[in-house]
Amino acid sequence: MPNLETAFLNKTFSNPTVLSSGILGVYGSSLVRVAIEGAGAVTSKSISLNYRSGHPNPIIVEFEAGLINAVGLSTHGIDDSISEISYAVKNSPSPVIASVFADNVENFALVSQRINEANPDFIEVNISCPNVESEFGKPFATDPKTSAAVTSAVKKVSKAPVIVKLSPNVPNIKLIAKSVVDAGADAICAINTVGPGMVIDIESAKPILSNKVGGVSGPAIKPVAVRCVYDIFSEVDVPIIGVGGVTNGSDAIEMIFAGATAVGIGSAVHYRGIGVFKKVSKEIFRFMDTHDYSSIEEMRGLAHE
């Protein structure tokens, strides 16, 4: 009988599926619901120190091959966020990952410090939001040095193990992976959205998103995500949460073969409903059963052989 249990750092997930940051993860209650509905772990929407209203609507638009979003990192501020995460940590049957972001290294440390109060199982450092520029003039995740600086600042203060979330929009993701692992990252999450992209309404001749551009997710980005996970696995020796376009069991297996320890699911919540975690787990189980794999561990990174 195949076993879906997935050891991830100091925890064991009941299955390798993980709710990705920014999907249904604003409130603790949603995180708990997704955990109950079958996610092996759940990630909160990225939290910052101060309230940010985000962009006006539309903030998401669907295209033929995925979604494009520019939610604009709207957050309710650190105090509200702490209470939401606390609620999730107390009530979720699955481990809770608190995602944080900030506009400079110091604030990354501050928000991570504060989030300790909520006792999340892991902290995920979102250095890869395509719409936020660092104090150094480009997204943190595009530069190995800034990526490392953020990582070590968070690592210094965080009580929970630190996952760093990378962007695919870089010439060489191996470089970034190496730099954050050298700086102390316990795990890597890859990838954040691709692009950015733009969808223009041809009737009004206007970009649809109020922010004009947004990050691309869903089936469109799966090959890029799989390649990134493959690259990172070949470069560093920490567990990887593979995210990007995973919609069914086959996609999840592809990620695991590429080197993922756990598999993030975001846009597929839209395509297959909140039950997608249970469905994907069943599909993974069935594949393992018919292909004589007994553990997720055993399948990890097989595409490298």
């Binding site: 249904l24 604003v26 209650s29 949603s30 669907e62 409903g273 039950g275 069943k282």
Partner: protein, 289 residues
């Protein structure tokens, strides 16, 4: 709480539609008609996008002969902008989204008992989805009463339309300028005491809904409630519209809920709740494969 279903074929990308008709329904309350076969059910909503401004949710207020309408109360920047739009102006529309009011004809179960007296309770622009519902109910032969409450006479809408199709229309105004001087809940209690209410469908401000809910519970009447919440995506992905301890999302699990769920949502106090103590019937167990 229904498990989020698979999304339908249509892309969640606005379709641009010209406004084919604008009707003043009351003071600062206008209906906008679109020539599009929407296939919505009463209680469902669409989002309306005005490029460069914003995109907001509105209940479908009617659907007939290949047209559909939304009826918009001017309360802020977006709705004021909408009120400036004229016939021929174009907006982007997405949807229909969400759950809907479910009614069946009076004899559908052979007992003749169901929906003998459907009472619709509307507060403010909550009347919009209920007008659509009233038309459907009447079409099914259900005897229907609309209790509509507003602050004052000029805000009342749809009386003529509803009466013309045979709906009993009872108004309640805060200032007594028309109909009953007081709350819709008083009119409702009166209907119930006269035995003229077998089911309640309500839509309006949260405090009104809570009081209507309490009345329905007290009299053991079935009810369906249209809720609202701040929305971003509108189709169940961003998580902004979650309202309670169960992670119910208004945009996809709602906006229309049965009485019992609505009451749970109303009573929810996150601070004092401990999820693990919850033992409602719809609690799923975590399965491990």
């Amino acid at each position: 709480m229904n498990e989020g279903a698979q999304n339908s074929g249509r892309l969640n990308k606005p379709i641009t539609l010209p406004i084919v008709k604008v009707v003043d329904e009351a003071k600062d309350f206008k209906s906008f008609y679109f020539d599009f076969d929407l296939d919505a059910k009463p209680g469902q909503f669409v989002t309306v996008w005005i490029p460069g401004v914003n995109e907001k949710p509105f209940a479908v207020s009617g659907q007939k002969d290949g047209l559909f309408s939304v009826t918009v109360s001017a309360v802020g920047p977006f709705t004021n902008k909408m009120h400036e739009l004229k016939e021929g102006d174009k907006v982007g529309v997405k949807g229909p989204y969400g759950t809907h009011y479910k009614i069946s004809g009076p004899d559908c179960d052979g007992t003749g008992a169901e929906h003998k007296n459907l009472v619709l309770v509307a507060g403010g622009y909550g009347v919009a989805p209920l007008v659509f519902l009233a038309e459907e109910a009447v079409g099914k032969g259900v005897q229907t009463t609309m209790i509509a409450g507003t602050r004052t006479k000029e805000l009342l809408a749809f009386r003529e339309k509803l009466e013309s199709i045979g709906v009993e229309y009872l108004a309640a105004t805060d200032d007594g300028s028309e109909g009953f001087h007081g709350f819709v809940t008083d009119v409702l209690e009166n209907q119930i005491s006269q035995g003229k209410a077998s089911e309640i469908c309500a839509c309006g401000p949260r405090p009104m809904l809570e009081r209507v809910g309490a009345i329905a519970e007290k009299h053991n009447l079935p009810g369906q409630f249209g809720l609202e919440s701040y929305m971003k995506c509108g189709f169940g992905i961003c998580g902004e519209c979650a309202v309670d301890y169960k992670g119910i999302h208004i945009c996809k699990d709602g906006p229309v809920f049965p009485l019992a769920t609505a009451m749970k949502i109303f009573r929810f106090k996150k601070e004092n709740d401990n999820f693990s103590q919850d033992n409602t019937d719809d609690k799923s167990e975590k399965e491990v494969f």
